[in-house]
């Protein structure tokens, strides 16, 4: 005899208990601490902070632990937490020119003021599994630089700007819209696009950027400069009448210098693409700069050739992995009501076809 499925609540509770047990894994193995994740899986922490749009390494590490290492799930946890936080105010814009750089490279000039600083990069590591890490993981201390870094590290694009070879990017003081507090509206200005790209899925952004390199709105990008380091966050305190430093952030910034033959409206000059991301994530920052540049076709008077990376509506509506994964995964929820409606329709249509063509049915 048929009994309707009941007990959804019990099933959910049991599933959560099982999940917690699986998260812990073999109890004979020491449990991961938040500090271990924060210190030793730093790039995962950085990605969760960037796409979660919340700079808090401890919370990001907690989210990674809770999500069993599923970074999109961890980003989701951070986003959902972030929305509940009250807003006390807005910081001043950070100055990346005053960044204390761990890494700073330019692909366009062999040397430049401030120098090329390789920093802690995977570049030039041979991708050979290091079995020593499996054994003890102890590492010798890295050598330290003898001389201190200059306080200001000038931007490479500034040198090109002096010669008038690159488009102007004047500073402006308009408050940018806040994607997390206002609904996305198309057409979106560059500030809003950059904001969306900064929290966009790394894989999606990488794929789009790669597509521009392969000819879908190719924009001939050079990495004018890539820098990673810490910047101070300052906030104006009205009661004090001046700004105070409230903390510091690690950021990755990428400025691309893009070839440009000129258009109906603009002279031949180099143009810019820009990427800025929380933490150390140069793959994301470079991708962001390439996609930013592709999305700027209209303001630079270029043709829209129908490439995905040029299409702001396409990019902005599909770049958010929390929106995408939620909608994608919702198709596993019950849909039997709509499926039933489709079943009835298909049955009806089939019966009409077979009624009309009984001979064909017999022949089959």
């Amino acid at each position: 005899m048929y009994v309707a499925v009941k007990g959804g609540e019990r099933a959910i509770e049991n599933a959560h208990a099982w999940l917690a047990e699986e998260r812990r894994g073999d109890r004979d193995i020491a449990e991961l601490s938040i500090a271990q994740i924060r210190e030793q899986l730093k790039l995962a922490v950085d990605r969760v902070m960037a796409e979660g749009s919340l700079y808090d390494p401890d919370l990001a590490a907690l989210a990674i632990k809770q999500a069993r290492g599923d970074l999109i799930e961890a980003i989701f946890l951070i986003r959902a937490y972030r929305t509940t936080l009250p807003r006390f105010g807005a910081s001043r814009p950070v100055s990346t020119g005053a960044m204390a750089c761990d890494r700073r490279i330019s692909a366009t000039f062999k040397d430049l003021p401030g120098g090329q600083v390789l920093g802690p990069t995977f570049d030039y590591t041979h991708r050979l599994l290091d079995f020593k890490l499996a054994a003890d993981g102890e590492v010798p201390e890295a050598p330290r630089a003898a001389k201190a870094q200059p306080a200001e590290m000038p931007h490479v694009t500034g040198f090109l700007n002096r010669e008038g070879l690159i488009e102007e990017a004047p500073a402006e003081d308009t408050t940018p819209p806040d994607l997390t507090r206002e609904p996305l509206e198309i057409p979106a200005g560059r500030a809003l696009r950059l904001q969306a790209l900064a929290r966009a899925d790394e894989g999606f952004t990488l794929g789009l950027a790669y597509s521009t390199q392969r000819g879908y709105a190719r924009n001939h990008a050079f990495v004018g400069e890539l820098r990673i380091g810490t910047v101070a966050v300052e906030m104006d305190i009205p009661e004090l009448g001046f700004a105070i430093e409230i903390g510091e952030l690690t950021l990755t910034e990428c400025e691309t210098v893009n070839q440009f033959k000129g258009s109906k409206t603009e002279p031949p000059q180099f143009t810019r693409g820009y990427g800025l991301v929380f933490g150390q994530s140069e793959r994301k920052a470079i991708s962001m700069a390439l996609v930013d540049r592709a999305l700027r076709w209209e303001e630079l008077g270029e043709d829209f050739i129908g490439a995905p990376a040029q299409d702001a509506e396409f990019v902005l509506y599909h770049a958010d992995n929390i929106q995408a994964t939620g909608f994608l995964e919702h198709i596993k929820l019950p849909h039997y009501v709509d499926f039933q409606a489709e079943l009835e329709l298909v049955r009806k249509m089939r019966s009409e076809v077979t009624d009309a063509n009984p001979a064909r049915e017999a022949a089959e």
Partner: protein, 286 residues
């Protein structure tokens, strides 16, 4: 759960949603953009409906949640529990006792009253989306009342299949103006939208849209004179309660592929059985 505000959302967010609801009621069927928040459940799982419910619930409400017509489907259980914890509201499975009903994919069979609010979860609020993927274009089409594309699509169905091949999320016209997606309810439920005494609110979280149908508003399913709209359902009575007038789920009951049909509205079916109604496969009364 005391760390969170009443009904989870902060007051500023609720005000923003409340303003959108009022504009939605003032412009029936028009999709009001709103700054949907990330909720502690995934997009696509009812975040729009949850935000609307959070903005309208008061401590005195009795809340009911259904998914596919049933109160005990896992996502309905999960959302009901969320509001029990964050808003402390009373909950019920009985349509008649509820003051606010959040639903996914169904309208209850028991007629709603003036004292009730129905909140729909909406995945894709734009009825023209599958004909035109660009929001910038569809917004223009709504503003110009340019719905020719939709009629062409429906008419193509008729010429190809003999009738309109849309069985759920069947588009409606609200008060003679906006074409609206009623959410993926089966078209069987469409007539219930028309002149309902209840307030009907629609929330699409991921797509950041809220829309509304005030009570007693004309809601007409799109059709043609020679092919009038028809609210259809499986041509069976319910095998548990014998109802002839309710929307049915089809259940495969054995390896031979035998089927039974049961009301998708679990409360409706249970109430009828409690009143003594019996269907073909009803359990024997103990």
């Amino acid at each position: 759960m005391n760390d969170y505000n009443f009904a989870y959302l902060d007051e500023q967010t609720k005000r923003m949603i409340r303003r959108a609801i009022l504009k939605g009621l003032a412009i029936p069927g028009y999709q009001v953009p709103f700054a949907s928040r990330e909720m502690p459940m995934p997009y696509g799982w009812g975040t729009g409906g949850v935000q609307v419910s959070a903005a309208i619930l008061t401590p005195g409400d009795t809340f009911k949640v259904i998914d596919q017509g049933a109160d005990d489907t896992t996502n309905a259980v999960s959302i009901r529990k969320f509001f029990e914890r964050t808003a402390g509201v009373a909950t019920t499975e009985h349509t008649g006792e509820a003051t606010v009903i959040q639903t996914r994919h169904r309208i209850p069979e028991t007629p709603l009253t003036e004292d009730q609010i129905l909140v729909f979860q909406v995945p894709i609020p734009e009825p023209l989306r599958f004909l035109e993927p660009r929001e910038s274009e569809t917004r223009k089409m709504h503003s110009l009342e340019e719905y020719g594309l939709m009629h062409v699509k429906l008419y193509e169905d008729i010429s190809r299949h003999g009738h309109i091949a849309t069985s759920y999320a069947y588009p409606v016209r609200v008060e003679g103006r906006y074409v609206m997606d009623p959410s993926p309810i089966p078209k069987f439920d469409n007539p219930k939208l028309d002149r309902s005494p209840a307030i009907q609110l629609f929330g699409a979280g991921r797509e950041q849209r809220i829309y509304a149908i005030p009570p007693y508003t004309r809601v007409v399913s799109l059709d043609f004179e020679d092919h009038p709209f028809e609210a259809s359902k499986a041509d069976h009575p319910c095998d548990l309660c014998g109802a002839e007038d309710s929307y049915l789920d089809e259940v495969i009951i054995d390896d031979a592929g035998n089927r039974m049909f049961v009301c998708s509205d679990s409360d409706y079916c249970a109430s009828r059985q409690a009143q003594g109604h019996r269907g073909r496969l009803s359990p024997e009364v103990a």
